[in-house]
Symmetry: C2
């Protein structure tokens, strides 16, 4: 076995999920994530955790959903019970075809999503972590060879997380103390309120309220957004390429929008519900192991020198206890490059210019 | 998809497990059983059942068990809860390597087995069915090409189960009414008591207390065995080939034994515990779709023209309600060919001679 697979498993089990003896762990395995699952099982055996392995296949999901009449009862008590009794949930993504569910009607998907809300919530109540095994299908989606993609993915995953967490702590502190953020870049001049909000230092560990591996971003839940933003990093949304999306906000709400490509998909997303035209997240990518766009949001949104905003649902972790932020059935991240002609200000003070943070060498006010 | 895979799924879901709308179904998928899992998911979608898919990989099990210190706590509450809340459990075997766990110490395996007794019982409390997807590894174990093995397997699985169930009902009736069975064949003359015992018409359906697909055997739980039996169908037990095992019984217990090959494995099995040297099962194979030995007990024991006996644990379904039969940690089936120079008698009446049953053309008293 490739030593990098073992290292990935070790980071996931120890740093990310903080697995301990006696933990009841659910490991979800994608069809091409088998090798990572073997390495994770070894680590879980060493730690003395209890392992239950589930199988997550787009092809199985597609066959099931297309055959279903869409009358989902509130059942799945067995799956609910599984997660209600689990301490840890590790999702090892590894599709053979990232478009495997492309011809499932979105109504069916949404109907099942509604019926399984309780299962999803039970899963989020565990120490859950999502990661992916670098597969050929992900390499293809990234327009990369398999070997090249493996190197890319392991660079992103095998960070010195402890020291990145320390560095990201600087930004979290500034965001927690700040009241207003302003982002200025080519095609972008946007202000957002963040007072009372708590930033998450997303250091790829449940100990930091962070549930992705790789991670490496600091995010919060902004509101009262005003101005214009242009997302110049392309991405696939609902199966379509979307490029150069421009959103204009007034008093927190999108009042105008356009896109060079994929405008219809953006329309669709913004029209989902009321919350879909308000921001749910402002995130600052700080993982410099991720140096290129690979059309996979797990990696893209953490890329160094980028900032992303999501329309839709806000994360509870960013909100005052008991308060609910922007609510929506969607949470769609879009990304903008801030490596040039850009600055991020908090309460009028520049904290990042052209990708460099104020605590870094070469930063200029 | 091969139409035979769809048919396999349909038999499994409808005939075997009797799945209905709203059933909470756990489907366990072997690494090479993916295609069958897709077909099963389609059927479950059509029926409106709820699907939770688990992944059963020998390689994952091996990595986990070899890394474990053998101190299994009684945990795995999450897996227990999954099965306690399930209506149906479908196991789709499909290993890539049927020897994947060969180097797991048997003590570790046994320690885990003991710790997971409750999970196993919860699984047996569902409408459970075990089947296999015909894989290359099973073809190899059977000494067959892949295509040849597929044909073999689907012949065994795609029976007219309704009419086989009717036919097997004849034998069940004779066994239920009978008091003593005598089996005479080359190297075999054995008598067993069966009064008070109930035979299972194992017609590959939970509606018949039958949990294997394929099935096609009638079995009961004999006792007070006397005489000698020779098992001339070879098989792999605990990783070793075992051939021409001879057991001599007196008053229910093995008093002498020998084997042409693999005698040490037979020793080991018989010495497991007290119950391991008494019979737990007498089974008569009646699936004529299975016409050859493939070193897979799921198929071999149902082969037409064979009789098998198991040392070890008896099935509750064969015993008077509330009574416990032979108890043991093992249940090891061994098979004898009865196509020639053989007869099976119940209370002195010949019911099968040289493979032919008394209700068949050509049968001679």
């Amino acid at each position: 076995m490739d030593e990098r697979v073992r290292e990935h498993a070790e980071v996931l089990v120890d740093w990310s999920a903080r697995v301990e003896a006696g933990d009841d762990v659910v490991v979800s395995v994608g069809p091409d994530a088998h090798e990572l699952a073997v390495a994770v099982a070894e680590k879980l055996g060493e730690r003395g955790a209890n392992l239950c392995t589930t199988y997550s296949s787009g092809e199985i999901e597609r066959a099931y959903l297309r055959a279903h009449d869409e009358e989902f009862d509130d059942g799945a008590d067995h799956e609910l019970a599984l997660f209600e009794n689990a301490d840890v949930y590790l999702s090892l993504g590894g599709a053979r075809n990232t478009s495997a569910t492309a011809d499932v009607p979105s109504e069916t998907r949404q109907a099942q999503r509604r019926a399984r809300q309780d299962v999803r919530e039970a899963r989020f109540d565990t120490r859950w972590v999502s990661t992916v095994h670098p597969t050929r299908s992900l390499a293809q989606q990234a327009n990369m060879s398999y070997e090249e993609y493996q190197e890319f993915a392991y660079d992103a995953i095998s960070r010195d997380w402890e020291s990145l967490a320390d560095e990201m702590g600087n930004l979290k502190e500034l965001l927690d103390e700040g009241e207003e953020v302003r982002l200025v870049s080519s095609g972008t001049d946007l202000t957002m309120r963040i007072d009372d909000r708590t930033a998450v230092n997303s250091a790829a560990s449940v100990a930091y309220d962070s549930h992705n591996l790789p991670s490496g971003e600091v995010f919060t839940a902004p509101y009262a957004t005003d101005g214009t933003v242009t997302f110049d990093v392309p991405m696939t949304l609902n199966g379509e390429t979307v490029r150069d999306v421009r959103l204009e906000f007034s008093d927190g709400e999108v009042v105008d929008h356009a896109a060079e490509q994929g405008a219809d998909v953006v329309d669709e997303i913004l029209e989902t519900d009321d919350g879909a035209s308000r921001l749910g997240e402002l995130g600052i990518g700080m993982n410099r192991g991720i140096d290129r766009y690979t059309d996979n949001i797990l990696f893209d949104e953490k890329m160094g020198d980028t900032v992303h905003l999501a329309v839709g649902r806000a994360y509870d972790a960013c909100l005052p206890v008991g308060e609910s932020g922007n609510e929506s059935a969607v949470h769609v991240d879009m990304i903008t490059d801030v490596s040039e002609d850009s600055r991020l200000e908090i309460d009028g003070e520049v904290v990042q210019r052209n990708g460099l943070f104020r605590w870094e060498n070469g930063f200029s006010e």
